[in-house]
């Protein structure tokens, strides 16, 4: 029956004029898939305009496209075989329209990469191949087209096959088939070609049926980005699309990055037949939850046992389509699932010319049509996954002013930058050197924990989860640290609907020495001179330099005069720094 049929999206890519539109047009023609009179009409129009008939005109609907004999924008059309339904996307091959090619390729599951047998492998053959690999499209057939122009030569076919294979394998793309065709003459399109007896595999029409469809992603961890929150009546409905996994009524859920937990109370519906107690990947749903927090678009719902990454720094591979170069120290907008956040490029680690694979390590900008490896910093915490673990939550686009100008996939959260933990560690290392202190890991963690509670616990208590996520401290340690602080009266636990930790006394009444004492740290100053040299330079922009200056001023009373409040004030005065450093 119609309903259980599967649909596969295939994009047709390759260098300009290598025959992509012709191939699709011919496929439609040979399988009798065109509405009555279409070919006659196109033939008539071609004649009126004094042009010879092209199958490509069946797709290149714009007058400008037909006039120039070139595809400008993608066409998506539906087509079916006995086995299944297809959406075929005809991509333009001209370099200028790479943005359109990517718009088409981004949603495809499989690809036909065309190479003109006569012209051979060209710039966009390679660049498109690179884009396929970046997008993670693994189901690729390379089509060696216009075989009629090379006398259906097997040698020429093998030559191109080897060249393309070497290039693509380098990128981790392993084409499943190489098919020689003449799109214009219909050789190996819908029927096997008699002109190429040396090729004994399927023609295109049969070959596409052999692409295996991806499995549904409902068995992956739950990812449910909040799209909006509706309050049309007495229900507060959180809506969005389940990007992966499943969700049931009664499930305990975590909302990131704000780190709130609650339970699913109901799954809402309008039409009675849509009533259900379980929803899964791909569905656009609405849920109500037990605790009525203030929820925002962009937050990501998951199960506690398998949470997304949260942070402000990540490394990504991206392609750039903007007319203006992508540069550092400029504000862009990043859109990832339903999250929209200001971002900047922290570093351009490598720029790659996608057609030659030439790399540039010290580029200061990424130019149009180039791909690059970059480190991105977002202004606020966002939640995401690495692309290899979850495609839907591991990719993003970058908006420059009004336009989507690039897109990328997340390679890894940047641990070095994440939460500035390392910078703090650095600072503490210097600190200990200066004062010859041997602060244990507990002392270091302790300082971080109490500063976190002080900075974030003024409005409402912070949960253990909040702290562990922000400070990246293992649960077992965190438990002990909190236990010690609570025992010492520096931190208090609050029960009730908003449970969590707050400071036990005002932060101005907590001095650093108190904190250290909780962990039995013994502080003694031995070498004043090394203070300057150790802190300068390495942590020049470290906020604690200011605190340190105070230390220097009243070195003798230091341990009793610096309070937690000072620390937190530094944190609050800084505009977008995370905790302490």
């Amino acid at each position: 029956m119609e309903k259980t049929r599967e649909t596969l999206k295939i994009v047709v890519v390759g260098h300009v004029d290598h025959g992509k539109s012709t191939l699709i047009g011919r496929l439609l023609y040979d399988t009798n898939s065109l509405p009555e009179g279409t070919v006659e009409r196109v033939k008539r129009i071609s004649k009126e305009k004094g042009k010879t008939f092209e199958y490509a005109y069946l797709l290149d609907a714009f007058e400008e496209e037909q006039r120039q004999g070139i595809t400008i924008d993608i066409t998506q059309l539906q087509f079916h075989t006995e086995k299944r339904d297809y959406v075929i996307i005809d991509a333009p091959g001209h370099k200028e329209f790479l943005k359109n090619m990517i718009s088409g390729a981004a949603s495809a599951e499989a690809a036909l990469l065309l190479v003109d047998a006569n012209e051979g492998v060209k710039e966009q053959s390679r660049r498109h191949g690179y884009i396929l690999s970046l997008l993670g499209i693994q189901k690729v057939y390379v089509i060696v087209n216009k075989m009629d122009l090379v006398d259906y030569s097997m040698t020429r076919f093998n030559q191109i096959r080897n060249e393309m294979n070497e290039f693509l394998n380098n990128l981790g793309v392993y084409p499943l088939k190489y098919i020689p065709t003449s799109a214009f003459l219909g050789e190996n399109i819908a029927r096997s070609s008699k002109k190429m007896p040396w090729y004994d595999e399927e023609p295109i029409l049969k070959a596409i049926d052999l692409f295996e469809k991806d499995k549904e992603i409902s068995d992956k961890p739950l990812r449910f980005p909040i799209q909006d929150v509706y309050k049309f009546d007495d229900r507060r409905i959180i809506v969005g699309r389940i990007e992966s996994g499943q969700l049931k009524i009664g499930d305990e859920i975590l909302i990131s990055p704000s780190n709130k937990t609650t339970r699913v109370k109901g799954i809402e519906y309008w039409s009675e037949k849509d009533k259900t107690d379980k929803v899964s990947a791909g569905m656009s749903v609405g849920i109500t939850v037990e605790d009525e927090f203030f929820n925002n678009r962009g937050e990501l719902i998951s199960h506690k046992k398998d949470t997304p990454l949260t942070g402000m720094f990540f490394r990504a591979n991206l392609f750039w389509l903007g007319k203006k170069d992508l540069v550092k120290n400029k504000k862009y907008k990043l859109k990832l699932t339903t999250q929209e956040v200001e971002c900047e490029i922290l570093s351009i680690n490598k720029v790659i010319d996608a057609s030659t694979l030439e790399t540039f390590e010290d580029a200061s900008a990424v130019k149009i049509n180039d791909v690059a490896e970059v480190t991105i910093k977002t202004k606020e915490m966002i939640s995401f996954d690495e692309y290899k673990n979850n495609q839907n939550t591991g990719r993003f686009v970058i908006v420059d002013r009004f336009d989507v100008s690039g897109g990328g996939i997340i390679v890894a959260a940047d641990n070095k930058e994440l939460s500035n933990v390392i910078q703090l560690e650095d600072y503490l290392k210097n600190f200990t050197k200066c004062f010859n202190m041997d602060i244990s890991w507990k002392g270091k963690y302790g300082l971080r924990v109490i500063a976190d509670v002080a900075a974030n616990g003024t409005e409402k208590p912070v949960t253990k989860n909040d702290i562990s996520q922000r400070q990246n401290i293992p649960d077992v340690h965190l438990e002990e640290i909190l236990f010690r602080f609570v025992n010492a009266g520096l931190i208090k636990y609050i029960d009730g609907p908003q449970k969590g930790y707050i400071l036990g006394k005002d932060s101005e009444n907590i001095i650093i020495a108190d904190i250290m004492q909780v962990f039995d740290e013994n502080l003694s100053i031995i070498n004043e001179n090394s203070i300057e040299s150790n802190i300068r330079g390495k942590v020049e922009d470290c906020l604690l330099v200011n605190v340190w200056k105070k230390i220097n001023e009243s070195i003798n009373t230091m341990l009793d005069s610096i309070t937690l409040k000072d620390l937190v004030q530094e944190y609050n005065n800084s505009n977008d720094r995370q905790l302490i450093c």
Partner: protein
């Protein structure tokens, strides 16, 4: 999820994106099957509410049954309905006798542009589909129009991973196309599954039915005996006729639709 579930989920996602991003949003309702399906999808997306107005551009040349159906559904669904007519053009005698494309442009394109200006719409939801005709097959889901409703179709922005065009110059507007990815048979299968009301003109009487609805002078019924949805679906599976074959304006020129739509036609 079956095929229709997937189409539906994607459409709902698009509708919700539009609602989130545009303060001034409206849905164009042509009374035909596609925009009535869209109305249904909106009900689902917003849990029975329709949080924006519905707009009908009335050329006064519509088939009378369409207007009757419009008013009935508007009441049943409690729609906030804006009906707009380009009165000025009509006063000057505009009609199909002036030329079909001229008439379409004046009564539909310009009528629509007037509503957009008057209500300062930033987002306008339309029920077009890629499989209808060439220029629509190249559309984006969120498609920008400038202050004069013009479409810069040779320079469309990238659209990937469902990250749609939501940043644009003030005064421009975005055409939102939630059912762009559906085809004609999908529409009928969905109407059947959801039991969505449609105007009777689609069902054959005396060997004829309308396959696509428009203005009376420019819309011709097709030969058909399909008098219920099942028969329509069966007919469509076997036909080689294009859906808009009965729409005269499409046939006026090789690139008629592209030319109309470039100026802001639906």
């Amino acid at each position: 999820m079956d095929h229709l579930d997937k189409l539906e989920a994607q459409s709902i996602y698009i509708l919700r994106e539009a609602y989130k991003h545009f303060g001034k949003l409206g849905m164009l309702w042509s009374i035909g099957k596609d925009s009535t399906v869209m109305l249904w999808l909106a009900k689902k997306a917003f849990f029975g509410h329709c949080p924006f107005p519905f707009i009908h551009i009335d050329t006064t040349y519509k088939i009378p049954e369409m207007i009757k159906f419009r008013d009935k559904i508007a009441e049943e669904f409690n729609l906030d309905l804006i009906v707009h007519t380009n009165e000025a053009a009509l006063k000057e005698g505009m009609g199909p006798q002036e030329g079909r494309l001229v008439c379409c442009k004046a009564l539909k394109t310009e009528g629509l542009a007037q509503v957009i200006k008057e209500h300062k719409f930033e987002g306008l939801i339309l029920g077009i589909r890629r499989d209808e005709e060439g220029s629509r097959s190249k559309e984006r889901v969120f498609s920008e129009r400038n202050v004069d409703s013009k479409w810069d179709y040779t320079n469309q922005p990238p659209e990937l991973w469902d990250q749609f065009k939501t940043d644009f110059k003030k005064g421009n507007h975005i055409r939102v196309h939630p059912i762009l990815h559906w085809n004609e048979i999908d529409i009928w299968n969905y109407i059947k599954r959801e039991n969505i009301p449609v105007v009777d003109l689609y069902f054959a009487k005396d060997g004829k039915r309308y396959r696509s609805l428009g203005c009376a002078p420019c819309t011709n019924p097709i030969k058909s005996n399909a008098s219920n949805i099942d028969e329509i679906i069966e007919e469509l599976k076997n036909t080689k006729q294009s859906e808009r074959a009965g729409r005269a304006q499409d046939q006026e020129d090789a690139h008629a639709m592209q030319k109309l739509r470039k100026e802001g036609y639906m």
